[in-house]
Amino acid sequence: MTETASHGQAPRHIPDRLQGPGARLLKSWELLLFAVAVAIFVANSFASPYFLNAWNLSDATFNFTEKAMIAFAMALLIISGEIDLSVASIIALCSTAMGAAVQYGAGTPEIVLIGLATGLACGAFNAVLVTKMGLPSIVVTIGTMSLFRGISYIVLGDGAYRGYPADFAYFGQGYVFWVISFEFVLFALLAVLYYILLHRTNFGRMVYAIGNNATAASFSGIRVARVKFILFLLTGLMSGVAAICLTSRLGSTRPSIAFGWELEVVTMVVLGGVSILGGSGSIPGVVIAAFVMGLVTFGLGLLNVPGIVMSIFIGLLLIGVIALPRLWAMWRR
């Protein structure tokens, strides 16, 4: 148990024999992950002749852009020591709200506003339960995960919303120029914004401080509940953004939309080197993890591996990246 607690303190290092200058860089999680990404990229380009094609690669980015948008906010939330398992259900509820608005003749600006507002409202609901009432976030969000998607099922049953306006399709299907999609640009922009927020602002330092020791953070003048409240709001908002992109890309809403995404988002964050116990992690790590997961899924897809078998790889990846360094350390001892 004491060993578990110490993992929250320091960033994770890959134990190896390297010493001297540059050793710290070589030991870093991000670099290892980057090497994995490059290896997968090379392996893919050998495995399938269709891989090294600008349009195919552009298509591949859709595998992770929407999930990564949520993963950025989730990374901050997990670093602060909380978690939100309701994100996929927030997508479902946002999408349902947008679909309902379309039935009442809403235009694209109204649809987008409704999507974002629904996301914020869901985030606020989680935030109130966790920060105002002091409930554990893991149970609260397991509850709201059922509740939010449950509302979608009540509204839609086994039906679907269609008929989104033509210009709404831009968010999920539009290209800024050549093969660079709108979603990819948004993903890159958000990556930079979250990098600045976490690594270059006071707010980011507060998030780390809370994750390492919430009591100490509180005594040093950080309003812990308020920071956490904002983080839940951000996660809800990003789920709203992802819902807009996904709904626009699919062109329809069913209550089962984005089912199981919470798992992939959490996997992405943990794979990116964020400690699930809070207190450490970085945005570049999450960005590389997003690419790793996107490349794995896309490469296996080109080799005609069914989606459910890919999930085995994602599960193995999740456990493997945490287990292997620890096994290695045990074996060396």
Binding site: M1, E3, T4, H7, I83, L129, M133, G134, L135, P136, I138, V139, V140, I142, G143, T144, M145, S146, L147, F148, R149, G150, I151, Y153, I154, G157, D158, P255, L263, V266, T267, V270, I276, L277, P306, I308, V309, S311, I312, I314, G315, L316, L318, I319, I322, A323, R326, L327, M330
Partner: protein
Amino acid sequence: MTQFLKSREAILSAAILALLMLIASRFPAFVAPSNLARVFTDTSPLILLALGQTVVILTRCIDLSVAANLALTGMVCAMLNATYPGVPVAVILVLALVMGAVMGMVNGLLVWKLNIPPIVVTLGTMTIYRGIIFVISGGAWVNAHEMSHAFTGFPRAELLGLPVLAWIAILVTGLFFLGIARTPLGRAFYAVGGNPHAAVYTGIDVGKTQFMAFTISGMLAGLTGYLWVARYSVAYVDIAGGFELEVVAACVIGGISIAGGAGTILGTLLGALFLGIVKNALPVVDISPFWQLAISGTAIIVAVAFNTRSGRNKGRIILKRAEGHA
């Protein structure tokens, strides 16, 4: 007695009685003994898994892989039966218990030996186990006509008016009542969850206790896997999809604290029965089954709010004997 009246279990019992009376006021047939027996049988898989989940949560862990474990074991049992119809049910029961336990042990070892947080481990194994079902079955279904009568008949066979499935749930619940209260391991679950550091000083191996909890949870998931597949006479990749959340919900509603170390077997039983009654009553009172997800979500949130409020000013109790004076 007054202690009991203020307890979570009493409130839940009252809520269940009120719910039953409400339904009975308009649909008296629902509370007929034969129908209540049917509802109990229908809730039995949930009770079995929730009991396993209870000991896992008591030790401050969580097992999200139970539904995938159930589905994988169920698929293996169904495929074995389809290929070798002659294999007796007893062998299949042992296979289901062992397979489930092994999958639980994998979770437990990763938590115990490698110190990986349980939520990460079981999120991972959940997808892996579910994926393996697809790999071994190729996405194909095992249907009723491929299964032998002995295989599908076992959980449905009637004994003293109740199907074997219900008797198994009753038997396992009884074992848990005894095991939790009367064995060193049962007390260790509470000790580890209540205060892991203190548990170490009393000579309890925290990791090993958690490993045992995962093994028990996995074993019950495996057993339920066979019973589930046999009862519904069908096995496919997605059976019991999302069932792990219902299982956690039953525990939380039953008053098992997610922070570990607090909660009772009776609470879990009542939590599972509450969900089971709601599920079975919805079609009767003519509410769309699509409401069920939202209702169980609301029930989880209300229950956890309740847990936290009632547990706030009480110290954690490890020794059963001290409970009366606390």
